[in-house]
Symmetry: C2
Subunit: 326 residues, 2 copies
């Protein structure tokens, strides 16, 4: 298995990525890495993996057109080589917009797919149970037909990666009743029902979306992004408040020692870094977008995610599944 | 000051509302309450306030048209009396959709207002600092022009109730850059700039919306609802996890005694019940929607909110402010 890695353009620079690659390779002898970036920053990788000197950086806020002019960037080179040399996956922690457009334009959409979607695994309130949400931000707006394809792709992902039997699928809405929702959600709801989508359970409110009843949560990219980031912001805030509450005095510090394990369990469940990042579904290849502020732990998880997507043959299953749902 | 109270249709029944009224009246001798509901459930209020026997209940999920056929309901009677007798405010913990349509159709929109908006105060990560978010669910979709009016109304509310000097106003978006957002947000962003809206600071991501930099957060009703409920769901989940982490063993229970105060501070900051509910801005009257599951504490806060909106003369200020922004 060959994975192309863009080492430039993330918030914390290439060093955590180098560290992640080294750790990942130690544990996964079945994977070869091809690292794209500034040669002198990748010296620790010499002898461990192939290094391609590609020195241009795609700025964090690069738009879809800007990135196409940066042909010599590590990002574009990594994507291009993935296409041309048939690598199994490509990963970047750089500009989301840039990476998504480079990947979509170069690798192309799967046959019949109208829009690619960013999908992310989410923790739920039920320990050990994961769900997926899509689209969390590849698009700014979507049609009902696109939401239908997102649902099908999300179900196939859930089956392939989490071994779900019949993934329970919901539309993210402002109420549980069938008629609730934005005009888009109302239209999608009708469409899902008309086509007798397997596992479609109706609407779910954001408040209960993580209660463990959902396997696949479907929404347009703008709403999904708001959902993801609201949850993230609140979780971070509460985590900090709990920590500072424990620092109040000697007694509370002693108390903390005794609940640390519990608190750590919470943090692990909620740590979006442990999910490694988001995957772009619907393109011809495994594309993983690691967090912009990836540390070595987070980026290693992104590498793991890519490996398991390749092993689970997610894209082949999506192709077959889409054909079956035509 | 006279406040009409609908005592039917909430999740917990009329008893918590009766208790809230009694407690509220003890502390606020300047307010008269007119209670609408089933006479026999309101016997404790006899001699304390006017009681109007109105026995029909608007179901929680009543649509806008359904509610109009329930003319004898406590909800419709309370709204109608507010209009006809010129009461200062009306409050209900019943069906949100039903109450909003009854209030809008009976009391009418303020001159020039295209859509009413539900506004809610929000805690922020900065202790003591509150912000407002609107619309959190009166509409399913909005135009850029409507978002403009929401922003102006939100600013006037923030000035009147929180004494903000120049309320810092943001659009909720999926990125901070000017060009980011759904087509609606992009259009609204341009409009806010073209009209040189005072205090308009640009886009804010959901992740940072509660960081204390925002006074007024503007969004369409569907997105606002997702934002509100994602934050609420995550806060509730983490609160429960922290509590159960403390219950693990004797030591952690002892630890809990020492951090209880800190944890309580967190819960109070986050308790949406302490905000009492949401206000409908843009209609000719003070309209407060208490939480559907209001207990006595929560409903008393809703009464407080109504009183302070009347005292702050919010509607007059909105009327003047809108005229000035024409």
């Amino acid at each position: 298995m060959k994975i192309a890695v863009d080492t430039l353009g993330s918030d914390l620079g290439s060093q955590p990525i180098v560290e992640a690659i080294l750790n990942f390779l130690k544990e996964n002898s079945d994977v070869e890495i091809i690292a794209f970036g500034k040669k002198e920053e990748l010296s620790l990788l010499e002898g461990k993996c192939e290094i391609i000197d590609a020195r241009d950086v795609v700025p964090m806020e690069a738009g879809p057109f800007e990135v196409l002019h940066l042909k010599n960037s590590s990002m574009c080179q990594a994507v291009k080589a993935t296409k041309e040399k048939g690598y199994d996956a490509v990963i970047s922690a750089g500009s989301t917009g840039g990476f998504l457009s480079a990947a979509t334009l170069t690798l192309k959409l799967l046959p019949g797919i109208k829009r690619a979607a960013l999908i992310s695994p989410f923790p739920t309130f039920v320990k050990g149970k994961k769900m997926v949400v899509l689209d969390i931000g590849a698009s700014n707006e979507n049609s009902a037909e696109e939401l239908y394809q997102f649902a099908i792709m999300g179900q196939l992902y859930s089956k392939a990666v989490f071994n779900t039997q019949e993934p329970k699928t919901y539309l993210l809405s402002n109420g549980t009743e069938d008629h609730k929702g934005s005009p888009l959600v109302q239209e999608a709801h009708k469409l899902f029902k008309e086509r007798n989508m397997e596992g479609f359970m109706g609407n779910k409110e954001a408040r209960n979306a993580l209660d463990g009843t959902v396997d696949v949560l479907v929404c347009d990219g703008f709403t999904g992004n708001v959902f993801l980031k609201s949850s993230e912001g609140m979780a971070k805030w509460m985590g900090n408040m709990v920590k500072s509450a424990f620092k109040k005095n000697l007694w509370s510090k002693l108390g903390y020692l005794h609940v640390k394990k519990g608190i750590n369990e919470i943090s692990e469940t909620l740590d979006y870094k442990s999910t490694g990042g988001a995957m772009l579904l619907g393109v011809n290849g495994v594309v993983v977008k690691a967090h912009g502020n990836s540390d070595a732990f987070s980026f290693k998880n992104a590498l793991r995610v890519a490996r398991s997507m390749v092993l689970a043959n997610v894209n082949e299953k999506i192709k077959e599944g889409l054909a079956a749902n035509e």
